[in-house]
């Protein structure tokens, strides 16, 4: 349960995720999706209730667990005044990535920014900056991906990359994906959850769910 002032942003939301599962979180604006994600990312501390990641209770052992997490929000979380490479060097050091320069080259190549690696991020387009954010995300090979509407802000190339990443993560890593797109939720997730005004109103596995039917239910739930 997470409270901001007198307003309860999240109330009685239970999330359980196993390795390899992908949870899609849907809901209208202000439903608490971002709050939930940030709490899972250990950026926020729940006012009541417990959080445990990979068996470690948080926030007490949050330090141990952060190395396993990859968080991507609306912002790519990179410094505009540093070059792409310098940004990744910083994160590589913060996460303790071994053989950093090879790994940096590899992710830059994957996101298609190797040629621009010595340019300041300020000169990048929004799509390119967001792609750098993807590179940052994958740099340390996290076992749990926490993504907040990652497709927004990505250019076409970036979206393809992200979908490939999610495909590869299926079965291997845990993913929590906050999104507005119902169809994507059904297509890419193993479980879907709908939040409304801080509460869970739907929580089901996606296997066998019809996207159109889900959309209809979703519209009704959040009306």
């Amino acid at each position: 349960m997470k409270r901001f002032g007198e307003r309860r942003a999240l109330d009685g939301v239970d999330v359980r995720l196993e390795d390899g599962e992908c949870l899609a979180v849907l809901g209208p604006n202000g439903a608490g999706k971002s709050t939930l994600l940030r709490t899972l990312a250990t950026l926020l501390r729940p006012d009541a209730g417990t959080l445990a990641i990979a068996g470690h209770p948080c926030p007490k052992e949050a330090g141990t667990v952060r190395g396993l997490l990859g968080y991507l929000g609306h912002d790519p979380l990179v410094y505009l005044d540093l070059t792409a490479r310098q940004n990744l060097e910083l994160y590589a050091d913060l996460y303790g990535v071994p053989a950093a320069s090879e790994r940096i080259d590899a992710v830059l190549r994957e996101v298609g920014l190797l040629a621009r690696s010595y340019d300041a991020v300020r000169e990048f387009s929004r799509g390119m900056a967001q792609r750098l954010g993807l590179a940052r995300l994958m740099l340390h090979r996290p076992s749990l991906l926490l993504l907040d509407e990652p497709h927004a802000g990505l250019d076409a190339a970036g979206r393809r990359l992200l979908d490939a990443m999610l495909e590869e993560a299926r079965g291997a890593r845990g993913v929590v994906l906050v999104t507005h797109e119902v169809e994507r939720a059904v297509a890419q997730a193993t479980r879907v959850m709908v939040l409304r005004a801080g509460r869970t109103v739907l929580d089901e596995p996606t296997a066998g769910l019809d996207p159109a039917a889900l959309r209809a239910r979703y519209e009704r739930l959040v009306a």
Partner: protein, 231 residues
């Protein structure tokens, strides 16, 4: 119920303190021997020092309550901490005022810079005045958390400020201060203790009143919100 009880405690403490204060005032001005050097104005010192100590006790309490808040995240500790800072600040203002009166009577000027205690309390006014500015710049949980941190830091600043002024003064005026310390004759000491207890009692009353006022405000807010929520 709790409402009736919570007004009774401050009332009792308040009455006791008021009585003690009257007793102390009588004792100090009528019974205690007059100081040969400074005369009657020295009597203000009984209160000046007791108020200063009460103020420091309040700030210490605020620091401890702040630490407790950080440990437990219980709102009550934040209430106590901010109320204590408020009381301490009010007392500090009195310290500065009584100190100024004493300076005027002793030396003819409205302020002296060579008294480390007095100067420290001026710094204290700034330190804890900033506390309230910090509080008004943040909301909710963050306000309580940051106030707690600052209450702790502020309480570390107080002795540091005192010693820096004292060290500076000791080099400029290398004369040992003759302040009214524990080398008071017994007849004076008794009335000093009475005055100190009285002032502490008044401070406690003020604290309790502040707390119950805050709680009443919060309860009112909660009722208001509940009424608004119901369609």
């Amino acid at each position: 119920m709790t409402e009736a009880r919570s007004t009774r405690v401050p009332a009792v403490v308040g009455t006791l303190s008021a009585a003690l204060t009257v007793l102390a005032a009588c004792g100090v001005f009528l019974v205690a021997p007059e100081d040969t050097d400074q005369g009657i104005i020295q009597k203000i010192f009984y209160f000046h020092v007791s108020i200063a100590i009460a103020s420091l006790v309040a700030f210490a309490l605020a620091g401890v309550a702040g630490a407790l808040y950080l440990r437990t995240r219980d709102e009550k500790h934040d209430e106590l901490s901010s109320a204590a800072v408020g009381v301490g600040l009010g007392l500090a203002v009195l310290v500065v005022l009584t100190g100024s009166i004493w300076a005027r009577a002793s030396w003819g000027t409205w302020w002296v810079w060579n008294d480390p205690r007095l100067v420290t309390f001026l710094i204290v006014l700034l330190l804890y005045g900033a506390y309230f500015m910090l509080r008004s710049s943040a909301d909710g949980e963050r306000r309580m958390r940051y106030s707690a941190i600052y209450a702790i830091a502020g309480f570390a600043s107080v002795p540091l400020s005192f010693y820096s002024v004292r060290v500076a003064e000791s080099f400029v005026h290398p004369v040992v201060f003759t302040q009214n310390g524990a080398d008071m004759p017994g007849s004076m000491l008794v009335w000093y203790v009475v005055a100190q207890v009285a002032v502490l009692g008044i401070a406690l009353t003020a604290l309790l009143l502040q707390l119950s006022q805050r709680r009443a405000e919060k309860a009112l807010m909660r009722i208001k919100l509940r009424l608004q929520a119901e369609p």
